[in-house]
Symmetry: C2
Subunit: 389 residues, 2 copies
């Protein structure tokens, strides 16, 4: 049911002809009663932020974070498209609003796909109203929406988390340009808990920090990243801490699905850095390891070359004492006090041959810790990204 698991929403997905293949490329989510609800959102920090990001930011501000709907398109990022791009994003909102009978500013928009290609507005906009007519409240409708936001994703990413008396649902896309501080990813979350939009915004920011911002596949910060959370309130008031825990859980599950589906990756790496001077330093160290081409290549080759890991920890710009560092793969320590440790090589090889691999580093300096999700680097990523055709 993903975004339709919480009470009060309807959704759909379909094809409006943005993708030349004719595959689904537009998703809609709206409140079942057409009334605005509390909304929160986080967007890319990229200064080349796309037109839909600009428009959604404005609509949130104009409405005081009270929105009815989200329209999402895939196949064209509508980024680096100038004034025509911004006009196109606004037109998609106003056409959606017209078909739904709501105010245009109550519609948020998120788009994903290639950058720098003019958005084919005139060729597609007339297909929007017929798709609005297919809105539904069942599992098939939710799945249509989740499928329509996919680009190079190989599976739809949907989640439901049940709280005490409320529910959180979510759908997301993302398989490349994934990095902390937001990825080329779109995510829409819903809940039926009743919370004011300022609380919603604060908890969403923290949830994103501990989920999507801990995922790093290729280190690129996209132009279009968007996470939106709508709260219908139909389940009544709920403990904000409980809602935050459920939203974080949903986001973490979706982030894991993104790592699972990362372009060309053969392995998901669960990276843990502990013993850092602070959590923030642990995060910086983990990020430097996760962003290392050499470390990623080693995982692709199933090679426990811990020397590269130590080198990345040492160049992360955090407090570091080589003589205290330990490195373990799947619980087997291969480096202790900064030098090679005799270990069960067969156990390490068996662990590295798995699809999910754990790399744990202990700086033995303090109590700071962080986790990060990343992937290996192999031919598949290059095949996917060397040309756009």
């Amino acid at each position: 049911m993903s975004v339709l698991a919480p009470k009060g929403f309807i959704a759909t997905g379909g094809s409006m002809g943005i993708k030349p293949t004719g595959r689904p490329d537009v998703a809609l989510l709206t409140t079942a009663n057409g009334l605005p609800v509390a909304a929160a959102a986080t967007f890319t920090t990229n200064k080349a932020a796309a037109a839909p990001v600009q428009v959604s930011r404005r609509h949130l501000e104009t409405t005081g974070h009270q929105v009815t709907s989200v329209v999402l398109t895939s196949g064209n990022a509508n980024a680096a498209t100038g004034e025509a791009g911004e006009a196109a994003a606004m037109r998609l909102c106003s056409e959606t609003a017209l078909a739904l009978g709501v105010a245009p500013t109550s519609v948020l928009i998120a788009q994903t796909g290639l950058i720098g290609i003019p958005f084919p507005l005139e060729a597609t906009i007339h297909q929007l109203a017929p798709i609005v007519a297919t809105l539904g409240d069942d599992e098939a409708a939710a799945h249509r929406a989740a499928e329509a936001i996919m680009t190079t994703d190989t599976f739809a990413k949907e989640v439901v988390v049940t709280g005490s008396g409320f529910t959180v649902g979510g759908m997301a896309k993302g398989a490349a340009m994934l990095a902390p501080k937001m990825a080329t990813m779109l995510c829409v979350l819903t809940t039926d808990a009743a919370l004011p939009s300022d609380q919603l915004q604060a908890l969403l920011r923290r949830s994103v920090e501990h989920s999507f911002n801990r995922l790093l596949t290729d280190g690129a910060i996209s132009t279009n990243d968007t996470v939106i959370l709508l709260a219908s309130g139909e389940a009544g008031p709920a403990d904000p801490h409980e809602v935050e825990a459920a939203v974080t859980d949903a986001c973490q599950q979706l982030a894991e699905m993104m790592a699972e589906d990362a372009e060309g990756a053969t392995k998901v790496i669960h990276l843990i850095v502990k013993g850092a001077a602070s959590d923030e330093e642990a995060h910086l160290a983990a990020r430097n390891v996760a962003d290392s081409l050499l470390v990623k290549c080693s995982f692709n080759g199933e090679d426990p070359y811990w020397g590269r890991v130590v080198s990345e920890l040492g160049s992360a710009g955090v407090a570091f004492d080589l003589h205290r560092v330990t490195v373990s793969y799947g619980g087997t320590m291969v480096c202790e006090d900064g030098i090679a440790k005799t270990h069960d090589a067969a156990a390490v090889a068996a662990h590295l041959a798995e699809r999910h691999v754990t790399l744990e580093c202990d700086l033995n300096l303090g109590s700071g810790s962080a986790t990060m999700l990343t992937v290996d680097l192999g031919y598949g990523y290059i095949d996917e990204n060397r040309t756009t055709s």
Copy 2:
């Protein structure tokens, strides 16, 4: 003649058995008269700096930057090797000193190769004295030294720059783990200009900043990076500005050779960012583009996907206005005012098919500019780095 072009030095190279293949793995450079000369050096900023870096730093301090010799080994980085590694680095210096009849602290050491493997001191140290006996002052001797520091390099990197009344010579190695703030690279420069060591140190730091630190292949900051400059003084006093220009020229030529020889790369990218708010911001922006896997993959596929370039400029953390940006490949502008520009696609395709490619970005905000050398990302890099065997 590389490091032997300036008057006052002798050199050699040979095999002491560090590399299992038996290929040359030790190089020596020393003053012809055995007397100390002014020396300058820059080292990696990595906090996991290798044993040879620690020992060389100490020897420079002890001698007040007056040294006789440099011993360089390849095949084992002697990094993350603990106290035994540091003892091995000191022993290599003392054995070299014994064979040359100089003070152990007057010998600097640089090492490159795999990280985390104990240095095979006992199996190799007896081979050092016979190699010292082959020291010479001719081109063959200089070339033996340059060849002995290669690891995955495919050609020896040597340079000579002639100043007015003095000469600068250099040799270097480096094909991976290349990033600004020093790379896995070793470089030894010589000059016969007479300059005090403090002037030498200051000019070397600036020269490195404008050469090796503008080279970024895979973004990894190595444990062993070392650049050493020895000045014999045999050509007499020289204008420090002229010496600096010659040293910078030599370093830039060696940096270009490293890019040319970067592991698995098929193209050398000359990246120019101008119109930034400052030179420093231009450098940050160029670095973000050069460090982008997606941009590197595009070059591998000869795809002028400028949208990725704009996205990296926008996420570089510098002043940026999407509506002012231009992007050009080989002088053909493909993006103007932040949107697609009609252009000669055949000219762009022809340029991208070449081995040396130029990418120029103008932020049109100020007068800051920077250049950066980088390479594409393809199968070759992964083949080279997925396993150490």
